[in-house]
């Protein structure tokens, strides 16, 4: 044993390795971080993932396109509707189907609602990561209201599966517009409360400003998208650059900051909630009449070729890369999931900070583990 100790270099002796996860309150799921510490300072973070790897990409190869949609719900379960949309858009583009305007508008409204509820849950859990437990209940309280709207229209609260190739599963509920408008009215009043509880707090500022800085160069090189990337100044909003559904007919601004620290990742998401409400307000009164879906063939076969479709989920750019050989099953499906990419930067930006900061940084990246593992 003496020998062993002597062989270890001084640097290695300093490291105190702890396992964060797979069961840990702040990893938000089964993520395992092997953290090397020197005192309280994080030297190295190695994510160990795969605890809930279900092989969705492999499963997709043996099922049909409409079935894939239900698998995408299970990736980023907080952006379920947007994930559905990615596959649907991909299939519709490949088959060159014209989608009715009504579908486009409803999809956009639903996407933005999904984004708001996802950010609400993120805000709730981020507050909890920083030790403000009350945030959790505030966030969840308001999220329930959106989930109620989903339940009424889609029949399901989280894993909605509302899209299908060619349109929507069903038409919207007659109450939909009223309830969405009510919600927007309510949430416009309640969102400043979030700022009062957390954003304005001195301790919160101390905990988040200048923590986990991600430069623009790194953000692009690591491919960090979504609010996390935009907080660093990486203009990566797919809704803006490559508008899909009804995003080309509305006015909204892309939230961009340059600082790229935890605080601005936080503010970017809060601002996005405001922006999402703006988008919904522009559309909710102008849902055009028409069919809610186009009639598609019972068995959808994509023409041979490769299709890449990007959408903006609540966490960043989701890419669906489908290689089709003309059969009813895809030959290969690849999901470029935003969380998987965002996780890869954790070591880069968390090294040198304290454990408490690691938790804050992890929270500000807003990781959803099933989307990492797929």
């Amino acid at each position: 044993m003496e020998e062993k100790v002597k062989n270890i270099t001084t640097d290695e002796q300093q490291e105190y390795v702890i396992n964060m996860g797979p069961q840990h309150p702040s990893t938000h799921g089964v993520l395992r971080l092997v953290v090397s510490l020197k005192g309280e300072i994080v030297k190295n973070v190695q994510p160990h993932i795969g605890y809930i790897h279900r092989g969705i990409e492999k499963m997709c190869e043996s099922i049909t396109y409409p079935q894939i949609i239900h698998l995408t719900d299970r990736m980023d379960y907080l952006s379920a509707h947007i994930n559905n949309e990615a596959v649907c858009l991909s299939v519709e583009k490949a088959l060159e189907v014209d989608i009715p305007d009504r579908v486009k508008v409803i999809r956009t409204i639903m996407s933005e609602l999904t984004r708001i509820q996802s950010h609400q849950l993120w805000w709730a859990s981020f507050g909890m990561d920083l030790g403000g437990l009350t945030c959790f209940f505030y966030g969840l309280r308001d999220r329930e209201k959106i989930l109620d709207i989903f339940e009424e229209t889609c029949g399901s609260r989280m894993i909605v599966s509302y899209n299908c190739p060619g349109g929507l599963m069903y038409d919207i509920h007659p109450n939909f517009q009223k309830r969405v408008k009510d919600f927007i009215k309510y949430f416009r009043k309640i969102l400043p409360e979030y700022d009062q509880l957390l954003t304005g707090n001195v301790i919160f500022h101390e905990r988040s400003k200048g923590i986990g800085k991600l430069s623009l160069k790194d953000a692009i090189s690591y491919g960090i998208t979504g609010p996390s990337g935009r907080a660093s100044g990486f203009s990566c909003d797919v809704r803006k650059h490559e508008p899909y559904s009804a995003y080309d007919r509305i006015i909204f601004k892309e939230i961009l900051f340059t600082e790229g620290d935890t605080y601005h990742r936080y503010v970017a998401r809060i601002e996005e909630m405001w922006e999402s409400m703006n988008i919904i307000e522009q559309l909710i009164d102008n849902i055009p009449d028409g069919p809610f879906a186009v009639k598609m063939k019972p068995i959808i076969k994509l023409p041979e070729g490769e299709y890449y479709q990007r959408v903006e989920t609540a966490r960043g750019e989701l890419g669906v890369y489908i290689i089709s050989d003309g059969n009813k099953n895809p030959y290969r499906v690849k999901f470029r999931s935003p969380n998987f990419v965002n996780l890869s930067v954790l070591n880069q930006i968390a090294s040198g900070f304290k454990i408490a900061d690691l938790v804050a940084i992890g929270g500000s990246l807003d990781l959803v583990i099933p989307d990492i593992d797929r």
């Binding site: 993932i49 795969g50 790897h53 092989g55 990409e57 492999k58 043996s62 790194d218 692009i220 090189s221 690591y222 491919g223 990486f234 203009s235 990566c236 650059h241 070729g305 490769e306 299709y307 890449y308 990007r310 750019e317 890419g319 890369y321 290689i323 290969r332 690849k334 470029r336 998987f340 990419v341 996780l343 890869s344 930067v345 880069q348 593992d373």
Partner: protein, 151 residues
């Protein structure tokens, strides 16, 4: 640059490359030996500046194993798709691009994990999701009688 200009530009880098005008993007079929040098030039040439690797997918083409790189320039907003293949199935090796785009680090580990393609010069090539006792599940010849229902 639009798709045609992009094709011409890539021709100017290396005239031997096979360029395919895909439905969405310009696709370039790169032999695995030229991949790294082409990627470097695409990233660093003033006119191209493909600084954002937004997707890296491993594909099993039946007898070949391949990797598809989706590159975008955040400045010019043009996209190019690089495709490379290796016919070796026992010990497939490709050059890593993780020194150019850091995001490739995780993506290549994923490809190694699911398809078994080894990336040379990768800083930390370990399996990502699965442990060493698994095969490479995204390969078409992967057999798992228990978990995969083929019917």
């Amino acid at each position: 640059m639009d798709k045609i200009q992009l094709g011409e530009f890539i021709k100017s880098i290396d005239p031997d490359l096979e360029i395919k005008d895909g439905k969405q993007f310009t696709e370039v079929l790169v032999p695995s030996s030229k991949l790294h040098s082409l990627a470097t030039q695409l990233k660093e040439k003033e006119e191209a500046q493909f600084d954002y690797l937004f997707c890296l997918s491993g594909v099993d083409y039946g007898h070949d194993l391949g990797v598809v790189y989706h590159l975008r320039s955040t400045i010019f907003n043009h996209v190019v798709v690089l495709k490379t293949r290796t016919s070796e199935r026992e010990n497939p090796q490709l050059d890593s691009v993780s020194d150019l785009w850091k995001t490739a680090d995780f993506h290549e580990r994923e490809v190694y994990d699911l398809l078994g393609i080894k990336f040379t010069n990768h800083p930390d090539l370990r399996r990502l999701f699965l442990d060493n006792s698994w095969g490479f599940p995204l390969r078409k010849d992967y057999v798992d009688d228990i978990n995969i229902v083929t019917k």
